[in-house]
């Protein structure tokens, strides 16, 4: 059972991502020779820290900018939720009217 599910998931995955079946034409033209251990440059810890700090700084700046759009997002979400709730309440009130009409029809006086 589990292997059947796994196989169907894989099939679904292959179906929707045909590009991942094999190397594309562009990739086939590129040389696929792995780098030897000597060719891989050694990582410089100070350089890593520098870029990490820069990245952190960039994220904080972006976050500050995003703060304003978060306010807009909040008010937008409030409007959507209240709107959807209003529509549902309206539907519920309409259902109550329908129910009352049905009750009148079902009563002996209504049947007359």
């Amino acid at each position: 059972m589990i292997s059947m599910i796994q196989a169907s998931m894989m099939a679904l995955g292959l179906l929707f991502s045909p590009g991942e079946l094999g190397p594309s034409e562009r990739d086939a033209e590129l040389p696929h020779q792995p780098l030897s251990a000597q060719e891989i440059p050694a990582t410089d810890p100070s350089l890593e820290r520098k870029y990490s700090d820069k990245f952190e700084q960039r994220v904080r700046e972006e976050s500050a900018k995003a703060g304003e759009s978060i306010d807009t997002l909040y008010y937008g979400m409030v409007a959507v939720l209240v709107g959807v709730f209003g529509i549902a309440v309206h539907a519920l009130i309409a259902a109550r009217r329908q129910d009352q009409a049905l009750a009148r029809l079902a009563s002996p006086q209504g049947a007359k």
Binding site: M9, G13, L81, A91, R104
Partner: protein, 246 residues
Amino acid sequence: MARSSTFARVYFPLTLLVGAAGLGLTLCVLYHALIVLDPHMPDGSFAIFAPPETPQANPMKLYDSYRIFFVHLPCALTTALMSMVMAAAGVLYLISRHRRWDALLMAAVEVGAVTCLLTMVTGYIWGDFAWGKGWTWEPRLTSTLILWLSFIALMMIRGAVEDERKKRMFSAVYGLATVPLYPLVSRSIEMFGRMSHPESLESLLRVNEISELSAVAKPALILFFLFFLMVRYWQLRLAGNIRELR
């Protein structure tokens, strides 16, 4: 004068109460999640592990993206709840053959389809930020997609059956047949292994304020979606009553 029905006396105020409580709590959660909580917490406070294929071995920082969990988790839980309601309503219909269980089953399918879609969309948005890839064909995501397709399939197939009794019987059997789907979603990581999706987000959220708000967000959004389940249930029941009168 006709005697007022159970719907008018009990169900209508109860539904309004559930809806108002759900909306109120959801708005409070959103206010805290988006306005009150500080996104600049100490480094590593809300770390989550990067997917294994990424070169970085250190836990990644979530920054502002953790806010989406307050919607993603409750939506996933509501989907689980709707899946259970769907199965239970299917069993109860097969036992009693009463139309009310069919109405409940269909209401659960509709709400489940919406919450499942919301789970996938919020997951996509977060995945795009965290993994650089919104969608991957990994077990948790693929099984969630299968669950959503099962909701949609029932709505579509039901529309194609004309006979009301056959329609109800088919839905009940279908509801029962989809019982293994949610356990498949929740246990997919245990069964097939973890690729990108973490097994549990809560254990990785190490800030008290976030855990506490997450604990409130779940019942708040579940109540809000329960309100829609109740509204749809009564609409479907009344539609059935009208069809029967004709």
